[in-house]
């Protein structure tokens, strides 16, 4: 394993523990995404790897070398910041050239490197401008160019797309994926956006309250969430979950029942993804009845928010121009293969 967090704990002077004994390892060339809500410790993990923070306990190893006490400049990593952190008193060209100037690269080679990187990120036109004359997307490209121009083996990105508007964010996301493929570098990407994580990552590390709660490839995280928290965090929209009880192989919740064979009697959490719920005819015998509440067309799909007593769920289905009127009954089927179950207390996934 090339990059290793070995029992890394970070406590801040004010007493908050941002990371609790994090163990995490990934290979060179990966696109690792650290995903979590705010306060989960994902940014702290990134800054610890960069050397901008020192861990309270534990070690960080890069290619077998202990870098825990090395300052950032000796770690060979580039970084892109959320607010770009461009040097406003230098031109775009000089911003990109800066890491090379520090390394005293000869002028001709420096110029070649800067132009090649500008070419790659399509910012050649802006090289003479000042950072203040750039749009958010352009500034972000300059920040990426500066982080990568000196060919660091690892590029860290701390929520690099959060300050961009929605369209640009999608575009830059694709660009980053292309960049990762072309440069064959290791990318570590911090985000709270599950969609960014799912689309970019070779592997996703989901953090919550300073602990790693699932570490897997994105598909597996979507298909087999390790606990209720991840189930309710990943997906568009996230998984529907219901608190209820199993009695004689049937799940009972407020407002509906559903067959759930093979589970012992007692409290349980049932989960099902909105896109896996099937709409059936009223005549179907085992149909679960909900009532339509709100309908949101998200072409080509439609989201149907439905209620039954204390429970609410979302159904995502292809929009076939059928009208769903509020208050109307909605007949649903939960395919057995699509069901997830979680422990009521711990939230952990049940086998």
């Amino acid at each position: 394993m090339a990059i290793v967090f070995d029992g890394v704990t970070k406590a801040f002077p004010d007493g908050t523990v941002a990371l609790q004994a994090l163990d995490l390892a990934f290979e060179p060339g990966e696109f690792l995404v650290l995903l979590g809500p705010s306060g989960s410790g994902k940014t702290t993990a990134c800054r610890l790897l960069a050397g901008l923070e020192r861990p309270t306990a534990g070690r960080i190893m890069v290619e077998g070398r202990d870098v825990t006490d090395l300052p950032p400049r000796l770690r060979g990593m580039g970084m892109v910041f959320q607010n770009y952190a461009l040097y406003s008193h230098k031109s775009v060209y000089e911003n990109i050239a800066y890491p090379l100037r520090i390394r005293k690269m000869p002028a001709a080679e420096l110029d070649r490197c800067v132009r090649a990187m500008a070419e790659l990120l399509e910012i050649t036109r802006y090289l003479d401008r000042r950072p203040s004359q750039l749009s958010g997307g352009q500034a972000q490209r300059v920040a990426v160019a500066r982080a990568l121009v000196w060919q660091p083996s690892l590029c860290l990105m701390d929520e690099p797309l959060s300050n961009l508007d929605a369209l640009l964010r999608l575009h830059m996301r694709t660009e980053l994926k292309r960049l990762h493929r072309e440069l064959k570098k290791t990318f570590v990407f911090v985000t709270h956006d599950q969609e960014e994580a799912m689309t970019l990552a070779t592997r996703v590390a989901v953090l919550r309250e300073g602990a790693l709660i699932q570490y897997d490839d994105p598909r597996e995280i979507y298909r087999r969430p390790a606990n209720r928290f991840i189930a309710e965090f990943i997906g568009r929209p996230a998984m529907n979950t219901f608190d209820g009880d199993v009695r004689d192989g049937v799940f009972h919740a407020s407002g509906f029942t559903c067959p759930l064979p093979g589970k012992p009697d007692g409290p349980i959490v049932l989960g099902i993804r909105p896109e896996q719920i099937q709409l059936v005819d009223a005549s179907a015998g085992d149909a679960i009845r909900f009532a339509v509440d709100v309908v949101e067309p998200v072409e080509p799909d439609v989201l149907i928010f439905a209620k039954s007593e204390a429970n609410a769920l979302i159904v995502r289905t292809v929009n076939d121009d059928r009208a769903y009127n509020p208050g109307e009954p909605l007949h649903l089927r939960f395919p057995p293969a699509a069901l997830h179950t979680f422990n009521t207390v711990s939230g952990a996934r049940l086998p």
């Binding site: 901008l52 950032p72 400049r73 580039g78 952190a85 040097y87 406003s88 520090i102 950072p131 000196w150």
Partner: protein, 277 residues
């Protein structure tokens, strides 16, 4: 809706206030300029004279005959040295206050300000004894150190704000790009804060240049700046007003010119902020 005529009346009123303020502020200065070109008879005439036969005699009389020209050099040396020292010591201190957290930080920061709370005269005697025992009394070093010590609090207080305006990520980006922490400060943060540093330096320079009390107490002969030279023109035979005015003009002229030249940068520096990244 703004009524046109009341708007005009308001404008005239504002101009009138400004005019009064300018007249009040400038009359003494203009009077001093005139005095420096008057002979003794015109100066002491019981009816103030606006028109008179100007003379240039006061300037050579004081600067050459009384050998006051080295005092101008002392003023320059003292102001420049104490300003440089203030910035070199104060800027890193302010940067430290802006960026790092340590126990008692705000108390220490407030302590800097308390050094300016006591009336300056109250520490004049301790300063005198202090520099006497150091053997620095009657040298410009004593004045430089005294000015540096009281201007340092100004530098630290002003510049902490300037550095705080620069996002931390700028330092961190510089460190990721390959600078040490010190390198990030010297080569990235300090140049970004240059307008603020410049404005602070100008204020330090002016305060030191105009300072009289400590300089008067700490030097009596060779190290005297221009401000301390003026009381020497109050003689048992009467005050040499023409020469006092001549020295005062020479002492104020650099500041006046300098402020005219850098006023745009000064305002920009004092309102430094919103570094767009």
């Amino acid at each position: 809706m703004i009524d046109q005529s009341s708007n005009r009346a308001w404008k005239s009123f504002a101009w009138a206030v400004l005019l009064v303020a300018v007249v009040v502020a400038l009359t003494p200065y203009v009077w001093m300029v005139l005095a420096s070109f008057k002979n003794r008879v015109d100066l002491l005439s019981s009816v103030p004279k606006w028109s008179f036969a100007p003379t240039l005699a006061n300037y050579p009389a004081v600067f050459i005959d009384k050998e006051y020209w080295p005092l101008a050099i002392n003023s320059v040396l003292i102001s420049v040295s104490s300003t440089v020292l203030c910035i070199v010591i104060g800027a890193p201190a302010a940067y430290g206050f802006a960026r790092s957290d340590f126990p008692g930080k705000e108390d220490l920061f407030f302590f800097f300000l308390t050094t300016r709370m006591a009336p300056p005269i109250s520490i004049a005697v301790p300063l005198f004894l202090f520099f006497t025992s150091l053997g620095l009394i009657d040298t410009i070093y004593a004045v430089v150190i005294a000015h540096t010590s009281f201007n340092l609090s100004l530098v630290v207080w002003m510049m902490r704000g300037f550095f705080a305006e620069i996002p931390r990520e700028i330092d961190e980006a510089a460190m990721m790009d390959g600078r040490s922490r010190l390198g990030a400060f010297l080569f990235v943060v300090a140049p970004l804060a240059a307008p603020g540093i410049g404005a602070t330096a100008v204020l330090c320079f002016i305060l030191s240049w105009n300072e009289f009390l400590y300089a008067f107490i700490l030097v009596a002969f060779d190290g005297r700046p221009l401000t301390v030279g003026i009381p020497g023109l109050v003689t048992p035979h009467g005050t040499l007003w023409g020469q006092v005015a001549a020295v005062a003009i020479v002492a104020t002229l650099p500041i006046v010119l300098f402020t005219f030249l850098v006023q745009k940068q000064l305002v920009r520096g004092l309102t430094f902020g919103a570094v767009k990244g």
